[in-house]
């Protein structure tokens, strides 16, 4: 190998993307995906470690070297089969997983250059599979044959449902909104995760035999107890973190101030970006400020730009280093011309007579000692107040779990943040035969960690139903 070859091997194949000047005018996907040649070239970079480190970084324990090896050998069908052994939503994970802090963080290639682009390769085989038309393995015959209710059709619920269906159980998913997918549908924008991809993954789950019932808000239409009355043997709660947090500062209820949830639900789920073709409107004006520093803030800011805002700021109380958003998303936002105001937080919203927002009084911050999250605590600098003129504000400072199920389920232990308490190993809650996982347990986190939790719960539900069945058989004989 020549020196130049070595050098080349250290660099990953870049992801082809829509040009910033084009993409800010449309909602189409930004990252276009590897071509076959690019995927083969990237897969060749994998050195197939005898003791691979990457797997430990994956919350669902994907056999990464194995599926990469199949790509290298152009066995794409076999590659996707390997992926789907552990991951039922690969086209989604390949797009939205923070691989840089998971599998790719452990890749030995990363020591002397770029780590292998595992996420991009996962997306490549998943898209190959979707394009070809997903094939489903026949449902395995199970002697257990339990009936499981899954509440919520986000990443945790879909994964739990898929795994349980593969193990031969009858699974019904209850989704409160009119479309399945949870945050994948209402939260993550089209340009980062096309809804037809989500739809295709949901269709795959349905092909596994899972029944999805939309418009069913559990806790209202049926309580958890009533689900057992309806004949379910176990319940998995994967209702996510859907309750928006607000700043609790003066003027917050002015028109033009949206929770990120409202803003993104209008745009993604209700397709307000096509108004008046679709009936749901959204109103943002020319100058938009997004408060927060996570992926949801990036999604909101980039959506605002595509809706026609001329200037979009991300206002974050810490510095760039502390931002919880994925680096890739921060870079995408920067490329698109989003402006960042670090070490700044609003203290008051100002409005006109009609009750619409006109401005935002902010205060500058400095970083003090690290707080319980390990990040340096922002402290306001007195006398540093200034006003930014804005036409709309999106508040993206986090979500907590929706409280309805917690309020209507007796004996379900919760924390003071409203999350459900579970046994970490099994996903079991304080209620018999009730399991939970994903953001409703952890607080707002990632798609893949929710999937990991759904997987874990599915395993323990299966074990518990197996035990129950055996006990019944023993009694009968």
């Amino acid at each position: 190998m020549t020196k130049a070859d070595k050098q080349r091997k250290r660099q990953s194949i870049p992801m082809p993307k829509q040009k910033p000047e084009n993409r800010i005018n449309n909602f189409n996907e930004v990252a276009l995906g590897y071509t076959t040649e690019q995927a083969l070239a990237e897969a060749k970079r994998c050195i197939q470690c005898p003791k691979p480190q990457c797997i430990q970084g994956c919350p669902v324990g994907l056999d990464i070297p194995a599926f990469i090896k199949e790509i290298r050998e152009k066995n794409f069908d076999e590659a996707i089969r390997k992926v789907k052994e552990k991951n039922s939503l690969p086209a989604i994970c390949g797009r939205v997983c923070p691989q840089e802090t998971q599998c790719q963080k452990f890749c030995v290639m990363g020591k002397k250059g770029d780590p292998l682009s595992i996420g991009r390769l996962e997306r490549f085989v998943a898209d190959y599979d979707l394009q070809k038309g997903v094939t489903v393995q026949p449902r395995s015959k199970s002697s257990v044959d339990g009936k499981v209710a899954v509440v919520g059709s986000g990443p945790a619920g879909l994964t739990a449902a898929a795994d349980l269906a593969k193990l031969g159980h009858k699974v019904v998913i209850f989704e409160a909104l009119h479309a399945p997918g949870g945050v994948l549908m209402y939260g993550i924008p089209e340009f980062r995760l096309p809804k037809k991809i989500v739809q295709a993954e949901v269709d795959y789950i349905k092909k596994l035999g899972v029944d999805i019932k939309t418009d069913y808000m559990i806790g209202k239409l049926y309580t958890i107890d009533e689900l057992f009355e309806l004949g379910f043997d176990a319940v998995f709660i994967g209702t996510g973190a859907g309750l928006p947090r607000f700043m609790r500062i003066p003027g917050e209820n002015l028109g033009g101030i949206y929770s990120a949830n409202e803003f993104l639900i209008r745009v993604n789920l209700m397709k307000a970006y096509t108004f008046p073709e679709y009936d749901t409107p959204i109103k943002i004006g020319k100058r938009v400020a997004v408060i927060g520093g996570g992926n949801v803030a990036m999604d909101s800011a980039r959506s605002a730009l595509r809706l026609g805002a001329e200037e979009v700021w991300i206002v974050y109380r810490r510095s760039k280093k502390e931002m919880p958003a994925r680096l890739e998303e921060i870079e995408n936002a920067e490329e698109e011309g989003i402006k960042f105001k670090f070490l700044t937080t609003p203290v008051k919203f100002l409005g006109d007579k009609s009750g619409w927002i006109t401005g935002m009084e902010c205060i500058a911050m400095q970083l003090g000692e690290p707080d319980e999250s390990g990040r340096r605590r922002p402290i306001p600098i007195e006398g540093s107040e200034f006003v930014i003129e804005v036409d709309a504000v999106v508040i993206a400072i986090g979500q907590t779990p929706n409280p309805v199920i917690q309020r209507t389920t007796k004996g379900l232990q919760t924390t003071r943040w409203g999350t459900i308490v579970v046994n970490e190993k099994t996903g079991k809650t304080s209620r018999k035969r009730v399991y939970a996982g994903g953001d409703v347990v952890s607080g707002a986190a990632t798609v893949i960690s929710a999937m990991g939790a759904g997987k874990k719960a599915a395993r323990s539900i299966h074990r518990s139903l197996l035990r129950k069945k055996r006990m019944q058989q023993r009694k009968e004989s």
Binding site: E229, L230, G255, M270, T280, G355
Partner: protein
């Protein structure tokens, strides 16, 4: 049809549409089974929704989406019939979504109906209760007044509208009220003026109300709360802010109650009328009026308003 008693074992029926549910119903989900025009632009729809019909209680609402391009809009469940498996909605055609809904014919389907949502009205024996309602608020009030009557309250209802033709549910309200008063803004029927004026008159006459329910246009609820405030009569209002999901996710329905932000969908829709910031609510309700007009005009130009 009874809102106030527990539904009990009927919950144990199998899920709609499953094999076990069998041939209990051959009707399509959310099919319009009955349609009436109660007054100009005020319509009644009875919809097939068996599971919601079994579970709904007075004061709760549904969120519906009429077609794949439709908005999600909240509407109060006015009546339910668990045996028949139906719910009844009453609405005024004001924007595109309610116009599309009004254009439905018997046999047409609504794409999505989710519910029951919101908290049920706290029904108990208060004593003497005034139910003050205006416009389509009368439809929202009816199940509440009925449940209050069934809980052995003495119910005095005051119903109002802009003019005689817009009065709805007069007979139904009369049947479940001990006394019924009517007011119209133009004096075409009953008292000339506002429902809040009638309430004030009754209070001044010596009616000692234990609780007042005020349900209708925001200004009417504000005026009613202002009437009862000096007398310290507990006043409950049912708010109608803009909602998107109706399940606690978006916060579009946030209202200030006693200086605190509340979500009408999760914490309401009923609140203490003396604590609600009505002026803020009125402003929030007006936010999308230009877009409403734009959408209606566009649809009218392109061949009329109908379900897609």
């Amino acid at each position: 049809m009874n809102y106030s008693t527990s539904v009990g074992r009927e919950n144990a029926l199998p899920l709609y549409g499953t094999e076990e549910y069998g041939k209990r119903s051959v009707k399509a989900m959310y099919e319009a089974l009955k349609k009436l025009e109660l007054a100009p632009k005020i319509k009644l729809l009875k919809i097939n929704a068996p599971e919601i019909a079994r579970k709904a209680k007075a004061g709760q609402f549904v969120i519906l989406r009429i077609d794949k391009k439709g908005e999600r809009i909240p509407l109060t469940i006015v009546e339910r019939d668990p045996r028949e498996g139906t719910i009844t909605l009453i609405f005024q055609e004001v924007g595109l979504s309610t116009m599309k809904l009004g254009a439905l014919e018997i046999g047409d389907e609504i794409m999505n109906v989710a519910g029951p949502l919101g908290n049920p009205t706290e029904i108990k024996h208060y004593g003497l209760v005034a139910v003050v309602c205006g416009g389509t608020g009368t439809a929202v009030s009816y199940p509440i007044a009925k449940a209050l009557k069934e809980a052995s309250n003495q119910v005095v209802s005051i119903i109002g509208a802009r003019t005689k033709e817009l009065l709805i549910l007069e007979d139904k309200m009369r049947n479940i009220s001990d006394e019924l008063y009517i007011s119209t803004d133009d004096g075409s029927k009953g008292h000339k003026g506002f429902v809040s004026d009638v309430l004030k008159m009754l209070i001044e006459k010596g009616y000692r109300f234990d609780v007042v329910y005020a349900i209708g246009p925001t200004l009417m609820m504000k005026a009613t709360a202002n009437v009862t405030r000096p007398y310290s009569i507990k006043t409950i209002v049912s708010l109608n802010p803009i909602m998107v999901d109706g399940m606690g996710m978006c916060g579009a329905c946030r209202v200030t109650v006693g200086g605190e932000t509340k979500f009408a969908c999760l914490d309401g829709p009923e609140f203490d009328g003396h604590l609600v910031d009505f002026d803020e609510l009125i402003k929030r309700l007006r936010v999308y009026i230009p877009e409403e007009k734009q959408a209606v005009e566009l649809h009218e130009k392109s061949g009329g308003i109908k379900r897609d």
